[in-house]
């Protein structure tokens, strides 16, 4: 069982959380100026590293708040969690 450190509640079992996929995928603007290739990049062509990935998580059965986590896809270890509106450097 993965222990997920919620930035608000501390470490909790992963069954309390919902993984929200990759974080920091910014919607391109303005929409009328965005071409097909850029929309496709935004919607579909994401990062899939074997290593650290920045993700969104929801503490669904806890404080019900969204936050970010930097998690390794190789061994699932979570290196850092931080608020939804932040983007700290990593490694710091």
């Amino acid at each position: 069982m993965l222990s997920v450190p919620c930035p608000y509640c501390g470490p909790r079992d992963e069954t309390e959380f919902v993984n929200g996929g990759e974080g920091h995928v910014d919607r391109p603007v303005p929409p009328e100026a965005v071409g097909d290739a850029d929309w496709a990049a935004y919607l579909f062509f994401h990062d899939n590293p074997k290593g650290h990935l920045r993700e969104r998580w929801l503490h669904a059965f806890g404080c019900r708040r969204w936050f970010h986590a930097i998690r390794s896809t190789a061994d699932h270890a979570i290196a850092l969690t931080y608020p939804i509106d932040a983007k700290p450097d990593f490694p710091a």
């Binding site: 990759e22 919607l43 062509f45 990062d47 899939n48």
Partner: protein
């Protein structure tokens, strides 16, 4: 000793104490250059190499496998072969694949043990029955042998399912594909490997690809860097399932794929209790019984991106709970083994096949949790694509460009469970 497998060869082998069998395939040293290199010694890579040599006369071909052949998803899957796909493009491709499987033992001179025992997918609500009826009618229009079954027929097909009054999810019917069934996964790997070797393909194991070389001017592929040195190639086919984006990273482009762990479970051997593949999309579980008697159980993929080939406990727990709800008498069965493979999903749960942005580099990926059934057709069409440089007509709908063009083949909405 004859190189063909037959009852007579078995007898002769037995009389000789089984000491005189030839190696099924060679383990050659890699050459400096091949006309085509296939990365990935799973079913798709091996079948592709076989067809390149056999059908297209390209015999200077190598398959590079970082571990052992079949050590990826092809050797980890739950071996369900079916073609109950909803969209016409998928139906044409997967039905062709099932037809090829029906002839594959003879084609490869290797018994792949295709057991067409039928696959029953049950429905637990009026809504699900209506949805299945829509699927079955759609599939029938595409020429797939699908039929609806009533609760009574479902009970006859598989009486051990939960028909009790206490069932939280009552079984109100289901859909059945009689041609579906199971295939021995290792036999597919070994059969294709042996057949490819016999038409001249070099199968090189313990040879991981670590880099892709490109011509600085044209950008075209010129070779690969591997753990066994540099190997030049004219064309490069990539069939590495959950590791596809890593190969794309090496070549400098992105794929619309994410890698997840998908788990499976095998129980202790039981007396025969289950002679169909039984599946419930709502519960998230499917199960069949192998010839050795073990129950082979699968469910949904783990909940987050992963390259860890082991799987997480919450998913294992969810699949076990689903199995007990589905077939309560299995509650006392002990599990022997649990494992996971890394599967690559596109947003529409359809494969990504054909050309890549890099000249000379071809893609066979995005199979997610369902590409074992696709191996014979995948190999045939990928070999055509590599040999001719033009996507085979059966795979044009699965091009990488479909994401830019929003021409998705949204099987994700139609299937509801991996396998």
């Amino acid at each position: 000793m004859s190189r063909n497998y037959s009852a007579l060869a078995l007898l002769r082998g037995a009389l000789g104490g089984n000491r005189n069998w030839d190696q099924a395939w060679r383990s050659p040293e890699p050459r400096a250059h091949y006309d085509a290199v296939i990365v990935g010694g799973g079913g798709h890579g091996l079948a592709t190499a076989y067809h390149l040599a056999k059908t297209h006369g390209m015999t200077n071909v190598a398959v590079l496998e970082k571990g052992w052949i079949g050590g990826g998803n092809t050797g980890r899957n739950t071996t369900i072969v079916r073609s109950d796909y909803y969209y016409p493009q998928s139906a044409a491709f997967f039905n062709h694949s099932v037809s090829l499987y029906e002839k594959l033992s003879r084609e490869l001179n290797f018994n792949i043990m295709f057991s067409q025992r039928g696959m029953l997918t049950v429905a637990h609500s009026r809504g699900e029955v209506d949805f299945q009826r829509r699927l079955v009618n759609g599939m029938a229009l595409n020429g797939i042998d699908m039929e609806m079954v009533t609760p009574d027929q479902a009970r006859k097909l598989c009486p051990i399912m939960n028909f009790g009054p206490e069932a939280r999810y009552p079984i109100l019917g289901g859909m059945l594909q009689r041609r579906a069934g199971t295939v021995r996964h290792d036999a597919v790997v070994w059969g294709y490997a042996r057949a490819a070797d016999r038409v001249g393909v070099d199968i090189i194991q313990n040879c991981g690809v670590t880099g892709i070389d490109r011509d600085p001017a044209s950008g075209a592929v010129t070779g690969v860097q591997t753990t066994r040195g540099a190997i030049g190639c004219g064309k490069l086919g990539v069939a590495v399932a959950g590791h596809s984006t890593m190969l794309a990273d090496m070549a400098g482009f992105r794929l619309p794929l994410r890698s997840y762990a998908l788990q499976a479970f095998v129980s202790e051997p039981l007396k025969p209790v289950l002679d169909v593949v039984a599946s419930s999309a709502l519960l998230g579980v499917y199960v069949s019984q192998s010839d050795k008697g073990g129950l082979v159980i699968g469910g949904n993929a783990d909940a987050y991106a992963s390259y860890a080939q082991r799987g997480n406990i919450p998913t294992a727990e969810a699949v076990s709970a689903a199995l007990v709800e589905f077939i309560p008498s299995f509650s006392r069965v002990k599990m022997l083994r649990q494992w996971a493979g890394i599967v690559d999903y596109a947003h529409d749960s359809s494969p990504v096949l054909g050309l890549s942005p890099v000249p000379g580099l071809y893609l066979n990926c995005g199979w997610g949790g369902g590409g074992f059934k696709a191996i014979p057709a995948g190999g045939e069409t990928f070999a055509h694509t590599i040999a001719t440089g033009t996507p085979h007509p059966l795979i044009t709908a699965f091009s990488l460009d479909r994401f830019r063009d929003l021409a998705l083949v949204d099987e994700a909405a139609a299937a509801g469970i991996e396998h």
